[in-house]
């Protein structure tokens, strides 16, 4: 029997039982739809996080205190205090591959103006910070070197703070209180909105790091130091240079372990990507289980179908169908059901994925997830069609044709 005839026979069987075929497809449709949607959410989030990180400057370098934590070893609290003003000075004196440098000290707490109050984070930075982050002041001005030297109680604030505290009034020149310290607002930042984590990037106060260290958190070390390499391509040179400077400044001997960690934005993006790929995979596998269940559903229905069509199988055998031909007929049937389900599932998944951004969720349908879905559907069709097909093929034509 040629394969074309086999297809005809199988498809006729599918068509003659449309409702049942559709119901067994339904599991696959939902399963594939879920897999594709999950993949697209994972990949979409990855892309939007990458974009976010890129926006912050791809030449951004972050120096954090403590040894490289990627091993996951617990950190000694003393290790968190290794970045000192002397390091900043050394970097400023020796830097060649680094353009801008800003020590960073953060604090969070209540901000008050008049009767209004809100909770925010204060970033103590140098005057370079806005250039590193490619951020602009919309009204007023950035603070000056002078302000830094004097630990001046001045600050620039994000749009959220303006909205929360000033109710339409001009904030420039007004004094707000952060943790009861009065700070004069000298500038308002351009709005950045929410990032892909859902964090409000405009709920910030930026002040000279000297002021935050001295007057607010009373500490002598930095939380971190952010820099920008002269170009993204020079990031590796910049990291080498900074490592060299800091090791000397910290008097770390040859072979000793760094008590600081430098990450480039590119590296952060890589880490993020890897994490998001893992998340995508987990989402995909979770959704994949529904495909497994759908496959079992197909097997179930095929088994019922084989039993129901025992007489027909007997007749086909009597007129010359071999066991092999019968089993192929049922395999084609199950593959057809799962593959057709797959096609509709892909449509469903792509449709759902294209609606997600409208609800604020990033989504990108990777082409490979579509091919993967089709592949999985064929495998499911074969895998779960095999048992029913074999059951049909092993029937005795005499018994089968007598079956009522």
């Amino acid at each position: 029997m040629n394969i074309l005839n086999l297809f005809k026979v199988s498809l006729r069987a599918v068509a003659s039982n449309k409702l049942r075929s559709f119901l067994s497809m339904l599991g696959i449709i939902i399963g594939v739809g879920a897999v594709i949607t999950m993949m697209s959410i994972g990949q979409g989030s990855k892309a939007s996080i990458r974009e976010e990180l890129a926006k912050q400057g791809t030449n951004l370098l972050t120096i954090r205190p403590g040894a490289d934590m990627r091993g996951g070893v617990r950190r000694d609290p003393a290790q968190m205090q290794t970045l000192k003003p002397a390091d900043y000075e050394a970097i400023m004196n020796e830097k060649k591959y680094v353009t801008y440098v800003s020590p960073e000290v953060t604090a969070s707490g209540q901000v008050i103006y008049g009767n209004s109050n809100t909770t925010s984070s204060m970033y103590g930075e140098s005057t370079d910070y806005l250039k590193i982050k490619q951020w602009d002041v919309q009204d007023g001005d950035n603070f000056t070197e002078e302000d830094v030297r004097k630990s001046a109680k001045v600050c620039i604030i994000g749009k959220t703070i303006v909205d929360e505290l000033f109710n339409g009034a001009d904030p420039i020149g007004k004094n707000i209180r952060f943790k009861s310290i009065p700070m004069k607002v000298i500038g308002v930042l351009k709005s950045k909105g929410y990032n892909s984590w859902g964090m409000d990037q405009d709920n910030v106060i930026i002040a000279p790091y000297t002021c935050v260290m001295k007057r607010i958190s009373a500490q002598t070390y930095y939380g971190s130091i952010v820099c920008s390499a002269i170009t993204e391509e020079m990031s590796d040179h910049a990291i080498e240079e900074l490592t060299d400077i800091l090791r000397r400044s910290h008097k770390i001997k040859e072979g000793g372990i760094d008590d600081f960690t430098i990450r480039s934005q590119a590296e952060m993006m890589e880490t993020m990507s890897t994490t998001m790929d893992t998340v995508t995979m987990i989402l995909g596998i979770a959704a994949g289980f529904s495909l497994l269940i759908a496959g079992i559903g197909i097997m179930n229905i095929m088994l019922v179908s084989v039993t129901e069509r025992t007489k027909e199988i007997g007749l086909r055998m009597a007129v010359g169908a071999t066991g092999l031909v019968i089993s192929i007929q049922f395999l084609i049937e199950s593959i057809f059901i799962s593959l057709t389900g797959g096609i509709f599932g892909v449509l469903l998944g792509v449709g759902a994925s294209s609606l997600l951004p409208k609800m604020g969720m990033p989504s990108i349908v990777p082409a490979w997830s579509i091919f993967l879905s089709f592949g999985v559907c064929v495998v499911i069709g074969i895998l779960f069609g095999y048992i029913p097909a074999r059951k049909a093929a092993n029937m005795d034509p005499i018994d089968a044709i007598r079956h009522e």
Partner: protein
């Protein structure tokens, strides 16, 4: 009781036995059956229920294999053949007609008749359709080609089944109680068809428990307890067409 026959033997059974093991018991359905059936014969096989008729027909139809003995179909020994070899043999050499028609539900007459050719690589879809139409015309259903099986009467369904058995131009037609589900009149109509096929030279083996039918065949084999009790040539074959004409007219015709 055999008489000389110049035709070639389509079927030859040589001491065929078929035992079934049911638990610790052995059911001897066929206890050594030997006969030859020649091309162009119309043989009825008779016997009471349980005498082994169906078991014998299953051997002849290559659906089952003898426990011992040999069966030659068209000169080819069948007993040692594999399952798939037997399937191919059925496809080429045998036409089955069943008591309950066994048509595919919701399928047109012509598609039902095409079924055996679906498993024959030598036919493309056009040739298949042509052969099916020819077979349906031969059984008088040329005007019912595209009627679905469930839109037909019992007699029509059995004609479709006969067309399906004829479509591969088999060496032998095997019918198991082919008129068993039909009323008297329709039975005779089908019998007329069988007699026509016989006259055209088809070899027919017709299993029945109805002794009357033997009068319309050319030879009758009588089975009892898995053995042949009688094997007689019918020299005075009655005409089914005449018998049909003699039947009282149906009221609503």
């Amino acid at each position: 009781m055999k008489e000389e026959n110049n035709n070639k033997a389509v079927i030859e059974l040589d001491n065929v036995k078929r035992y079934f093991h049911v638990g610790s018991e052995v059911v001897k359905a066929l206890r050594g059956v030997s006969f030859k059936i020649y091309e162009g014969e119309f043989v009825t096989i008779q016997g009471t229920s349980g005498s082994g008729k169906s078991t014998l027909l299953n051997q002849l139809g290559c659906l089952d294999t003898p426990t011992s003995g040999e069966y030659y179909l068209d000169g080819v020994p069948v007993r040692k053949m594999s399952k798939s070899q037997r399937a191919h043999l059925r496809n080429k050499k045998i036409g089955f007609i069943f008591q309950n028609y066994n048509l595919l539900a919701n399928t047109t007459a012509v598609e039902n008749v095409e079924l055996p050719l679906m498993y024959n690589n030598k036919f493309n879809s056009r040739q298949r359709r042509e052969a099916a139409i020819k077979a349906l015309e031969a059984v008088g259903l040329g005007d019912r080609l595209y009627h679905k099986s469930n839109q037909m009467s019992g007699g029509q369904m059995q004609r479709v089944a006969i067309a399906r058995a004829l479509v591969n131009n088999p060496a032998v037609l095997l019918a198991d109680e082919a008129t068993g589900n039909l009323d008297t009149r329709t039975s005779f109509e089908v019998l007329v068809l069988f007699q026509e096929l016989y006259k055209q030279g088809h070899t027919i083996i017709f299993v029945t428990h109805n002794p009357e039918i033997a009068e319309y065949s050319s030879r009758n084999i009588y089975l009892r307890d898995g053995q042949i009790r009688e094997d007689t040539i019918n020299t005075n074959i009655k005409s089914a067409a005449e018998a049909l004409a003699a039947l009282p007219k149906p009221v609503d015709d």
